[in-house]
């Protein structure tokens, strides 16, 4: 359950992240997981969406390196990650150079500064 009922689901989702917890939704009607957070289920239209904590495991589905000058922060990874619960999100894989992030790699979610990022599975931090 969301820590702070703070209005709409976007605010609830962010409030949880700000406390270090990553939440996705699950529809009680059709039993499918939902992300990004919605007020109604995009699969069946029901409003019976409840917060659940994902297991945290996922797979890199698509990958790019955004090329930036060093003074603009340098190159960064942007990936689409498929969570094991069956939802996809944009994020980044940290702890390795962007060029080492590849489609199919297993990754694990971590919340840092109110944002969901991923590490390669088995990476030591």
């Amino acid at each position: 359950m969301a820590a702070t009922p703070a209005g709409g689901v976007q605010a609830e989702h962010q409030a949880a992240l700000d406390e270090g917890r990553f939440l996705i939704q699950r529809c009680a009607e059709c039993a499918r997981h939902v992300y990004f957070p919605r007020e109604l289920c995009p699969h069946c239209g029901a409003t019976a969406l409840a917060w659940v904590e994902p297991q945290g495991g996922g797979t890199v589905h698509a990958v790019t390196t955004v090329r930036r000058k060093a003074d603009a922060g340098g190159d960064i990874n942007v990936s689409l990650i498929d969570l094991d619960e069956g939802v996809r999100l944009m994020s980044r894989v940290e702890g390795v150079p962007p060029s080492d992030v590849r489609i199919g790699q297993r990754v694990r979610a971590r919340v840092v500064a109110g944002l969901v990022v991923f590490d390669l599975e088995g990476a030591v931090r």
């Binding site: 962010q14 589905h61 960064i76 942007v78 689409l80 944009m90 980044r92 944002l115």
Partner: protein
Amino acid sequence: MTAALRGRVAIAGAATFGCGEAPGFTDIELLARAAHAAVADAGLTMRDIDGITTASASATMWPLPVIEYLGIRPTFVDGTMLGGSSFIAHLMQSMLALQAGLCNAILVCYGSAQRSASFGRREIVAARRFLDPQPYEMPYEPFLPASAYALAASRHMHEFGTTRRQLAAVAVAARAWAQHNPEAFMREPLTIDDVLASRLVSDPLTVRDCCLVTDGAGAFVLVRSERARDLPTRPVYVLGNATTVWNRQISSMPDLTITAASESGVRAFAMAGLAPKDIDVVQLYDAFTINTLLFLEDLGFCKKGEAGPFVESGAIAPGGSLPVNTNGGGLSCVHPGMYGVFALIEAVRQLRGECGERQVQGARTALAHGNGGTLASQSTAVLGTGDTL
């Protein structure tokens, strides 16, 4: 259902203005010049225009200033904004309005001084964060739109073995066509190795895999087909049109290698009673090189996953089996923020036989496909000459 609309409306006039660099012009000034030229091309005057459709990437109420500027009193107004596909998507509401008798002559128009404007990309990106937020993508700092297309390209490469050389071949073919088009902005020779050696923007896309940033305006005039036959210009008939939107964000796209063009194409072809094999010349919204591959597949010109080898064989370049983006496309001809209207105008010019040394001889049918957002909105038009009715 929509088949009843097949061929009932014609494009009676079309024009571009200020393509490339038009320093000192505003968006609406460029638009007005193209609009006037398109109306004159149709053998009409501004007083004859009683319907208008237009869209802007920055002004949310854009039909208002355009109507004011042109001094018209339209009985039909549409400002549907779906991104770059908008001006092809406007065909359907225009056809319905003309058939319902809401109006008699519709001006579809667009203009942008994106290249020369002082309010640049950086300011627009900053403003959009507030006006049109994407809170689940922007925190990760993708370089949009390029990174979204790069993500789709990574997936196409992974699933089908598509290579960077094959992506580059799209840009090389576009440039080869541009070299036959005096209006094209970039006409210097370009090789696959040139593309591969150019600066990476968002892997695997280099700056030469990305469309131009130019100025430019385009406009065309739609009338009922009976009337078009009495006007001076050879009519180009709208045989089919369909628009599909499934998502907005790349992270919400159901399958990164199958765009909504796979549905808009089927519906547009069904309305036209034609198939991909019947099309003589193809204009695809090539915001990035991966677009051309995806749309060749999704519109049925190639099987899924086979567009890379098809393009690398030279098939879409001048002299190839399927003429694609004969003006040079968004990659080498013109891309002022939104390209859809220019894809459609090039299809019209080909069917009117006005394309000089890039003319596809005997072209009777054309497909123009528009894309909007980050592979989000898709609109397909099938056009034909009088003998396709």
